[in-house]
């Protein structure tokens, strides 16, 4: 009888033990699986963020160095224009040459305006030369186009003393003006001369694709 009782108890105990071991395995693997999945998701995000921030850093660095190089180029160009500006008035030293230049500038105004009567503004010191230049310009204009034109110096509004030279041609009843002073011409070149300057200073651009 006691043997039977013990036998029953032992069998029950074995059942419990077997179930306990099975539960152990299941519970453990469930927990591990759950948590490792969560960890994987977290680290995937972390890796992606790190990769992105690395790309951002690389791009920023590339940009910065590119800007440095462009800055150096710009500095050189500015320096060149500054030096050119300082020398602008050289053309006025040789009177004959300067008169020729003035004639050309006035003629440019004549061709652009195409009007019979124009006003010229110039530096007070240039008035004499300008008068002579106007005469030659009028003659050449008639010669090249067959048309008559005339110009008078507007002595109420001279070009300021500080200017390096050149003239302003006024037409259209005082409403249109062509600024042919040396400074204004140099200013126009600041943009229009850039391609030629680039070629002269740095050579052709190997990356350029469009030439029209």
């Amino acid at each position: 009888m006691t043997a039977f009782i013990k036998q029953e108890a032992t069998e029950k105990a074995n059942e419990i033990e077997i179930k306990a071991n099975a539960e152990f395995s299941m519970e453990k693997s469930k927990l591990v699986q759950q948590e490792t999945d969560a960890i994987d998701a977290t680290y995937q995000k972390k890796f992606k963020q790190a990769t992105m921030s690395q790309q951002i850093t690389r791009s920023t660095v590339a940009n910065k160095t590119r800007l440095r190089v462009l800055g150096a180029r710009q500095e050189l160009l500015d320096d060149i224009f500054e030096k050119a500006q300082k020398r602008l008035s050289e053309a006025t030293n040789d009177k004959n040459r300067y008169e020729g230049v003035l004639k050309g500038l006035i003629l440019e105004g004549f061709y652009a305006m195409n009007e019979p009567e124009l006003k010229i503004r110039a530096r007070k010191a240039d008035y004499e030369l300008v008068e002579k230049a106007i005469n030659s310009a009028v003659a050449e204009y008639k010669d090249k186009t067959g048309k008559e034109t005339s110009a008078t110096i507007d002595d109420e509004e001279p070009v300021p003393e500080g200017s390096a030279g050149g003239v302003i041609i006024i037409g259209g009843n005082g409403k249109i003006d062509i600024d042919n002073t040396f400074e204004a011409r140099l200013d126009l070149l600041r943009e229009s001369a850039l391609p030629a300057m680039r070629k002269a200073l740095f050579g052709e651009n190997p990356n350029r694709k469009f030439f029209d």
Binding site: T2, L31, R73, L76, I80, F81, R87, F182, F202
Partner: protein, 112 residues
């Protein structure tokens, strides 16, 4: 008869007591196993996490090093280009300035 009977009953009672001890031990074993499952799981999880963290740190430090190297390289290239520009400037500056001044002083006298 009753003396025999009480001895018999006593034996049975003893046997029952032994039996419940055996079952009790099994139940305690079960509880222990549940706890062990959690503990071992935690240990494995922590180890996994540490491994991932180490992988990540390695990745980060590799890329920081790479970034620094790239930056130094880029700066060196920039320095070289800038030196080139200044060279070119010194060489061609005067020519360019002459061209500019000539453009200012030489109007294009053609009828429009």
């Amino acid at each position: 008869m009753s003396a025999q009977n009480s001895a018999g009953i006593q034996t049975l009672l003893d046997a029952e007591r032994e039996a419940s001890k055996i079952v009790q031990k099994a139940r305690e074993y079960r509880t222990k196993r549940v706890r062990e499952a959690r503990d071992e799981a935690k240990k494995e999880i922590d180890a996994y996490k540490a491994k991932k963290e180490a992988e990540f740190k390695e990745f980060e430090s590799k890329h920081t090093r790479g970034n620094k190297a790239a930056e130094d390289e880029a700066n060196k290239e920039a320095d070289a280009k800038i030196a080139e520009i200044q060279e070119a400037g010194k060489k061609n500056q005067d020519k360019v300035i002459e061209s500019l001044l000539n453009a200012v002083w030489t109007p294009a006298s053609v009828p429009v």
